[in-house]
Amino acid sequence: MLEKGKITPRQTGELLFITMLASAVLFVPNFTADKVAQDAWLVLLLGALFGLIPLFIVYRLGLHHPEKTLFQYAETVLGKWPGKLLTLTYVWSYLRLTAVIIREFSEFLITSFMPNTPLSVFVISLAFMAVWAVLAGLEVIARMNEFIILLVGTALVIVMLLSLSNWDLHLLLPPFQANPLTLLKTAVIPDVWKAETVTVGILMPFMTRPKKAFVSGAAAACFAGVLLAIGIIAATAVFSHHLLATLQFPIYNFVRTINVGKFLSRFEVLVMVVWVTGIFIKTSLFLYLSSLGLAQAAGLREYRPVVMPLAVICMAWAFGVYHNIIELTRAIDRPQFYIIALSLLAPLLLLLVTLVREKTAGRRQAGDKNN
C-alpha cells in the first residue's frame, strides 16, 4: 500500500465538501445567473443530485473491489495496459484541474485584493504549500481540513446572517421560469459535482469504514449544494440576476455590500478565508491524487518522488492555461466533455465490465460444481 494513513468517513465527506464548495463559491453564480436568470439557485440543487449518480457508481465499484483504489482496479478490470492508460488519463485530468484551480486562485486574489502583485507569487506559494501537504500524506490533509471546515462553515453562516437586512426576496420572483432543458444543461456544467465525486473511488480503500463512503459523499454533495444555493439566493436577492450575471465574483461583491451599523463592514476578508483555505485543500488533494495515480500506474513503492515534478508541471500549466481572467471565466462556463466522460462514463464502463465478469465467473464456478 502506498498510503498508510487512514481517514474516517466523516473526514472523507469533509474533504469532498470543501473541494465542491471552494471553487464553486466564486465562479458558479456568475454564469448560472447569465443562463437561467433568477432560477440560478435551482441549478446548484440539481447539480448536487446529478453528482449522486457518479458517486453511486464509484461506490458500487469500490464495494466490488475492496482495498483497491480506482487506479488499481482499472487494471484488473480492463487489463494491464488499457487500465494504465485510463489511470494516466485520470492523472492528466487531475493535473489539469489543479492547474486551473491554481490559476483561478491567483486571478481572484490579483483581481480583488492585490492588483500589483505578480501572478507568480500566488502560483508558486500555493504550489509550494500543496507539495508540503502532499508529502505529509492523506491523513494530514484530512485532519487539516477538519479544522479548516470550521472556519469556512462559520464564515459562510456569519456572512449570510449579516446580509439578511439587505435581502429583497422579490428579486427571486417569479420562480421556475427557466426552460427545463436549459436548466438541466446548465446543471451539468459546474465541474464541481463530477471530478470530485470520482475522488471517492480513490479514497475508499483508505477509509476506516468504506461502506459509509456513499452516505458521507452524498451528505457532502447535498450540504455543499444547499449552502451554494443559499449563497446564490442571497446574492440574487441583493443584486438581482441582471447585475449578478455581469459581476466577475458575485459572492465576493455581495459580501462587500454588508455593512451593519456602520462599524461591522469589510467582510470580504471572510470570503478570502474560505477561498484561500478551501483552494489550498483542494489543490493538495488533487495533487495527491495525481501523484498516487501515477505512482500506482508505474508500480512505484512510494508516491513521494513524483510529487514535486508534478507540481512543477502544474505551475507551468497554470501560467500558460489562460491568458487572462476573461478567458478563464469563458472556459469554465461551458460543459467539458472529457470531464463527463472521465467521471461518469469510465466508472460506468468499469462497473459494467465488473458485473459481467462476476456473472460469467460465477456461472463457470456453478458449472464446475455441477460437473
Binding site: P305, P309, V312
Partner: protein
C-alpha cells in the same frame, strides 16, 4: 529570474534523489528523473514563452464552439 527557476529545478533533484539512491529505489529514481526532465522542459519552455504542443490548449480549442 531564469537562474532562480533553474536553481529551483535543481533543488528538487537534490531534495529527492539522494534519498532514493540511499534506499536503492532504482525504479523510483528512473521515474522521478524522467518526470523531472519533462517538468523542466515544460517549465523552461513556459518561461521562455516557447510554444509547446499543449494538451490544455487542445482541450480548450474544442470548447470554443
Amino acid at each position: 529570474m531564469f537562474v532562480l527557476l533553474i536553481l529551483g529545478l535543481l533543488g528538487i533533484v537534490f531534495f529527492e534523489a539522494p534519498r532514493l539512491i540511499y534506499k536503492r529505489y532504482w525504479k523510483e529514481l528512473a521515474v522521478f528523473l524522467l518526470l523531472w526532465v519533462l517538468a523542466s522542459l515544460i517549465a523552461v519552455s513556459e518561461f521562455l514563452e516557447i510554444q509547446l504542443p499543449n494538451p490544455l490548449a487542445a482541450s480548450l480549442l474544442k470548447l470554443k464552439r
